[in-house]
């Protein structure tokens, strides 16, 4: 048996600015340990452990802030087998993994008791056809469950009667955010002409909310449970260029589309407004990226620039004025982000990192009492990274 460890460590500190307000200096850290094992020409095993602590929000995290955020800690433990039959282009990969995310959102909330803490248990299988190393086509199927251990609906807690009357609706569920999921994913990459590589992925995710019943137009709950299907398609056109062994450029243009369909509705009790298919949305995302690598492999200086624009529309969510009154129409959002990064090598596999991001979000939605749709945000991070 041959052991080939993969490991990495990144420690960064930084600040986030939200609509001009500066948050305090905080830190991010991440580590990965994966002792890859090769048993023979057919079998390999890849156990891995990832842990990432985030004290500084990234621009992409701030989807409508004014959302609460203090810190987030992600941990993932997994094992993946890679089986390559003799004289075959195929690779078969069964996998198991579990992930736990701790999310602290208010000052009085402790790590480990966050309202939106969740864990995932996943079992999957992938098949890959390596038609020309390193290019391949792959398909995968995963079954996994998400559980929010600290989140139960308040209505399920208030089911006891008051003054001889029940305060909860029939069919009220408790762990209403928990899901059972099936993910089908496809992917592949290949050269297109002499200069370009195209990479594509497609996925269909089915989510079943076993404890969440559908809301009817009257505001009551009905027997059917919520089911969502999220479909996504992404294409990336890459242009790697090796001008010499000490100068490499990787340019790319990414394009992705997502559509989520859900049978769940929403009922705004204060406005007595029924909103069908509340969770449906469509999104398109695109943008260029370029990375310039200067220097020998594993000791290069890397300069990165990127921009992303994404547009999302909720076709069934009516616009609301600043007071919350419904106006008709549908809600849409347009966000864009630019980022720059610099990695400077101090030693083989070890470098200093500086990263800055700027984002701007706009929307035609004017009701922002609970959730901000229009804002700007900036963040910067600096620190070091080591990977092997």
């Amino acid at each position: 048996m041959e052991l080939s460890p993969i490991y990495g460590l990144q420690v960064l500190g930084g600040q986030n600015f939200y609509t001009g307000q500066r948050n305090s200096l905080t830190g991010n850290a991440s580590a990965v340990v994966a002792p890859a094992m090769k048993f023979d020409d057919n079998w390999s095993l890849l156990p891995s452990f990832n842990s990432a602590y985030q004290g500084t929000e990234q621009v992409l995290d701030i989807v409508g802030a004014g959302t609460l955020f203090q810190s987030q800690w992600d941990n993932r433990l997994g094992v993946k087998g890679v089986y390559t039959p003799d004289d075959s282009l195929w690779r078969f990969k069964p996998s198991l993994s579990t992930r736990y995310e701790f999310l602290q959102q208010t000052k009085d909330e402790q790590i480990g008791k966050g309202l939106y803490d969740y864990y995932t248990m996943d079992a999957g299988f992938d098949a890959e056809y390596v038609y020309r190393e390193p290019f391949a086509l792959r398909a995968g199927l995963d079954y996994y469950q998400n559980h929010f251990p600290n989140y139960t609906s308040l209505e399920s807690q208030a089911a006891t009667s008051f003054q001889g009357q029940s305060l909860a609706r029939e069919l009220v569920g408790n762990y209403v955010l928990d899901t059972q999921n099936v993910l089908l994913s496809l992917g592949g990459e290949g050269p297109v002409s002499d200069r370009f590589i195209v990479q594509g992925t497609a996925s269909v995710l089915y989510e079943r909310f076993a404890n969440q019943h559908l809301v009817a137009a009257s505001g009551d709950l009905t027997s059917p449970i919520r089911q969502d299907v999220m479909s996504s398609l992404a294409v990336s056109l890459k242009m790697p260029a090796e001008l010499n062994s000490d100068l490499r450029v990787l340019g790319s243009w990414d394009l992705a589309g997502i559509y989520n369909t859900s049978n769940q509705n929403s009922y705004d009790a204060t406005q007595t407004q029924f909103i069908p298919y509340y969770y449906n949305y469509g999104e398109i995302r695109t943008g260029p990226n370029v990375r310039v690598l200067v220097g020998p492999s594993h000791e290069e200086t890397i300069v990165g620039l990127g921009a992303t624009y994404w547009y999302r529309r909720y076709p069934y969510r009516q616009l609301q004025d600043a007071d919350g009154a419904y106006q008709g129409g549908s809600t849409h959002m347009g966000n864009w982000m630019v980022q720059g990064s610099l990695t400077y090598p101090m030693a083989p596999h070890f470098g200093l990192v500086f990263n800055v991001q700027y984002g701007r979000a706009t929307s035609n939605q004017h009701f922002e009492e609970f959730y901000r749709y229009n804002y700007t945000t900036t963040n910067y991070l600096f620190g070091f990274t080591y990977d092997y």
Binding site: E2, I6, V32, A34, A36, K38, D41, S44, L46, G64, L68, G78, D86, D87, L89, S95, S97, Q105, T106, D108, L115, Y116, Y118, G124, D126, G140, N146, L154, E155, A158, F162, Q163, Q165, L167, N181, S185, D194, T201, L205, A217, S218, G219, D220, P240, A241, E242, N244, D246, S266, Y267, A269, T270, Q271, T272, Y279, A322, D323, G324, E369, F370
Partner: protein
């Protein structure tokens, strides 16, 4: 047939070495392992090699798949082994010269030293001219060429004509920039380990890519929670979970329930309305009239209502029945006429001076703290609440709702309203009773960050504009009473609910 080009095509500069004569030469594919294909020069498609030997001509191409190998044998006894995931074209195969164009991948060659015969391996960036050697050539993405020499001597030339002579157990890399510096061959075992490492790093990247899809779906679930306002910060800086929903107990009833949850407490508010007729499925139709109508009498009106506030231990309940619509601007009592009225269809206050305004008045009302009556009144077909109208009788010995006799007469009630901080919208309504008990209502107007609104936020507002500004904030009410024994009821609700229901006038 045009030579197949690598991803980064580079013009190849040929070199010439003087070589002796040689007998007629050919090249054959003599051994295959795994999936090996070849494409004849006059054919468009690749053919799987199933039987050997296969004679190759100039222009023929051969390629190997993952974990495959192919062996070529030249008539002079020279041998070339093509590695997995590799491809070459036979550029030339004569008695005097053999040239292989390695487009990608790697090969290893054992070349006989035979006089003036020339043997070359070309790559996108280099030309290797060999004479009696054992060597390997690898073309990497980008055209970079790695040449390893195991035995003999090997001349390598780059595009600019720079040449280097490799000695046994030496390696040189050639790229677009030119010739590298020859160095010692690395350990083969180390190379295999490095390749395995690269493959495993790629597997990690594929795994993380799928994890991102899963994590993104979870983030959508959380985002929707925030968008629906299910999590706020109260005036004390703590998270408040908020859920509001409608319950339909009876066909002519609706109940709005507001639940507040914090780390250490659970409070709720409900409003139960009973109407004069069966309610439609769309409550908006009826609730638009809950606060009254302008001009014409309403179709839907409340005949009774009940509100409740509780921290699961203590409670404050209001009950009222005998509701009926009254045109209060034409009821013969000038003191209760209204000039502003909240129009739900416009979500704002409008001027109704001189217009008929139908509002629901209740003949009987009772306020209960922990089940005990504190205050109430009775009446019959009341047309005005004004004291000058003299139509209501304050409860004293009987329950105004049930009519049951009270154990003892109700104590006298005194109400005072104060603003402890003149710069903040924090109102205290203190109800004191002659039996020494009290009920205190601390009403806060707070923003979505939990900060108390200031008078500056309401500067230059009054009447309609004051109430309009009020709609932009949240309303937090803290109720304490002597019966609560130090506890409190702490609720965050939208003021619109209270304005619409008439609880805020």
């Amino acid at each position: 047939m045009h030579p197949r080009r690598a991803i980064f095509p580079i013009a190849v500069v040929a070199t010439l070495f003087g070589l002796g004569s040689y007998a007629a030469a050919g090249v054959s594919l003599t051994k295959v392992s795994g999936l090996v294909q070849f494409k004849p020069v006059d054919s468009e498609g690749w053919q799987v090699v199933r039987t050997v030997p296969v004679d190759l001509r100039e222009g023929d191409a051969v390629r190997t798949a993952l974990r495959a190998q192919a062996t070529l044998l030249f008539q002079d006894g020279s041998r070339v082994e093509l590695a997995a995931n590799s491809s070459f074209i036979v550029d030339q195969a004569t008695s005097r010269r053999s040239t292989l164009n390695l487009t990608f991948g790697a090969l290893k060659a054992w070349v006989q030293h035979l006089g003036s015969r020339r043997f070359e391996v070309r790559t996108p960036t280099a030309v290797c001219s060999v004479r009696g050697t054992e060597f390997g050539v690898q073309v990497l993405p980008g055209g970079r060429t790695v040449v390893d020499l195991y035995k003999g001597l090997l001349g390598v030339e780059d595009r600019r004509g720079q040449q280097v002579l490799l000695h046994p157990n030496e390696r040189v890399q050639v790229d677009l920039r030119g010739m590298g510096t020859p160095g010692a061959l690395p350990n083969e075992r180390a190379e295999l380990r490095s390749r395995f490492h690269t493959i495993m790093q790629r597997e990690m990247a594929l795994t993380m890519s799928k994890e991102q899809v899963m994590a993104a779906a979870v983030n959508e679930i959380k985002t929707a929670e925030f968008q629906q306002g299910k999590s706020l910060i109260d005036v004390f800086g703590k998270r408040v979970r908020l859920e509001e929903y409608i319950v339909r107990p009876q066909p002519d009833q609706f109940k709005l329930v507001v639940l507040n949850s914090r780390a250490d407490r659970f409070d709720y508010f409900y409003y139960l309305g009973t109407f004069n007729t069966t309610l439609p499925s769309d409550l908006t139709v009826a609730l638009r009239q809950i606060n009254g109508t302008v001009g014409t009498a309403p179709t839907y009106w409340l005949t009774a209502f009940q509100t409740g506030r509780s921290n699961t231990q203590d409670s404050v309940v209001e009950m009222a029945n005998g509701g009926h619509p009254v045109d209060i601007n034409n009821n013969g009592v000038a003191s209760d006429a209204v000039t502003q009225w909240f129009d739900p269809s416009q979500n704002k206050y409008v001027d109704v001076t001189g217009k008929s305004v139908y509002m629901t008045l209740f003949d009987n009302y009772g306020l209960y703290v922990n089940g005990g009556l504190k205050y109430g009144w009775t009446g019959s077909n009341i047309t005005s609440y004004a004291s000058t109208a003299g139509q209501i009788t304050l409860a004293s010995t009987n329950d105004p709702i049930t009519g049951a006799a009270l154990a003892q007469s109700l104590p006298a009630r005194s109400v005072s309203t104060t603003f402890p901080d003149s710069s903040q919208i924090h109102q205290i309504i203190y109800e004191s009773y002659s039996d020494g008990t009290f009920t205190q209502w601390d009403n806060y107007i707070i923003d979505d960050q939990g900060k108390i609104a200031t008078t500056a936020d309401f500067a230059a507002t009054a009447g309609t504009t004051y109430d309009q500004t009020l709609l932009k904030f949240n309303y937090e009410q803290v109720v304490t009473a002597s019966e609560f024994q130090g506890r409190k009821i702490d609720l965050v609700v939208e003021p619109k609910i209270l304005i619409q229901s008439g609880l805020i006038q």
